[in-house]
Symmetry: C2
Subunit: 303 residues, 2 copies
Amino acid sequence: MGGDAPIAPVGADWRRLFDPRDWFLEPCAEAGSLFGLALESPEPLHDERSAFQHIQVFQSRHYGRVLVLDRILMLTGRDNFIYHEMLTHPVLYTHPHPRRVLVIGGGDCGCLREVLRHETVESCVQVELDERVTRVAERWFPELCEANGDPRATLRFEDGISFIEQAGDASFDVIIVDSTDPIGQAARLFSRGFYHECRRVLGEAGVLAVQSESPLIHTDVLAGIHREMRAAGFPQVSALQFPQSSYPSGWWSATLAGGAKAHKAPRAAAPGRNRPVTRYYNSAVHRGAMELPEFLARRLAAD
Amino acid sequence: MGGDAPIAPVGADWRRLFDPRDWFLEPCAEAGSLFGLALESPEPLHDERSAFQHIQVFQSRHYGRVLVLDRILMLTGRDNFIYHEMLTHPVLYTHPHPRRVLVIGGGDCGCLREVLRHETVESCVQVELDERVTRVAERWFPELCEANGDPRATLRFEDGISFIEQAGDASFDVIIVDSTDPIGQAARLFSRGFYHECRRVLGEAGVLAVQSESPLIHTDVLAGIHREMRAAGFPQVSALQFPQSSYPSGWWSATLAGGAKAHKAPRAAAPGRNRPVTRYYNSAVHRGAMELPEFLARRLAAD
């Protein structure tokens, strides 16, 4: 595509025709790839350094607003619906009656909003380390934060691992880990010790869902998550895959883990007007997302 | 991702740190996005202007070799298996006994190779406009061309539309259209008149498969293909979606169309050693790929 390309292709005089300042550009070192979005202006709409990270918001030309943490793209207005729906609805439709939900990370509040679309949910606690991410989201992505005032929602700003270590046994039905990549602070959210605590806090019937990187370029990470989850005592572990055009490779995954009594197959979505309105998720898509490509199924079975 | 990014992020002195000549960069004008691959060298391995187009091959750092036509990325060594498998195996496992197969376009011969993995296939005719694409593929992508010498294969270099206009009624069981984007020469391969000719050449039991662009950023193109196929007399039209990390949005689609007697659901893959070895496709993935996200299902049903 790109017949009316605004910038010059290989072979032209790049230095004259291409000004990288007009783009948000994110290299992915491990894949040797680059993703870019044309910006309305090189000046960010918002730019601050919180106690934890550099938070920026840009206005793109065709992808809406873009949230960037430490120069890594977190979400765009155009395609975050796929990620947020696939990190929340599959796990909520796997548990037979999810009442008590915990979101670790997820400071943009997109997961919280999707969770609270479910009528069975009586409480949803969001534990985000950096309060500034949520305050920035409230200002620049108000659509993601429209459920923040729901009486069932509790927003806490503290370390997710400390929170879960102090939580009671079997005190949540569903835990959703909406983390950044497994580097820096977030690496601990991909560890066996953390999964072991989740297992305790969920009990035998609870289900855990975590974002688990790209099936194509992070196959080893995905396999490692499966291995550590099983080692932490989850007998049921399964991956779901879905497109996410603004993340490296355009292809992303979630991994679900359940105890001995956890359901694995999705129950049907509630019929009629109480069913959450979705743009990506439906029951058939849920089942389809669990059918893994040959190379991935073989890799996950090998460990 | 990209913690060890080799190039500078937004806000740095781009002109000093980022040299676009080290990258293959492809803008997608209609999405305001950019995809890039780090190159081993800015010098192409191959660079020629055929009678029809500019053909280039680059050596990327992590995606293998890259075939570029008129500055648009056609395939990479790393991820073309997904596209080629999903354009061929679903249609070949939909027809109950595919014997006579026609590939329009597909000069890189990747589809031809996948087709000839099926033992039922007695002949496969590939009709590519530009012989130079195939000759370049034979030299630089020999793995895609390993079936070119199969006695069941016929390689023709001529206009696909003229070929199909002269083909007999019900003379093929399966037609696969592995075209470039619907601009320039290739636009005619997305027209009602072309689909009408395919319908005639396939008869009542035959099945057509075409590449049908990105579900996310070309939703209107995909809906138009469905509309034109139905108008051309195909009562059964269905889309399949799959990841393709090196195409715009990282998400792509194929559309299948069949006559009144065509099967719609896939038959099971042949068991045992005669089953084609695949890296992406399997029967469950085939069914999963047909489960469309809500927004796409609604859009395709609206026409």
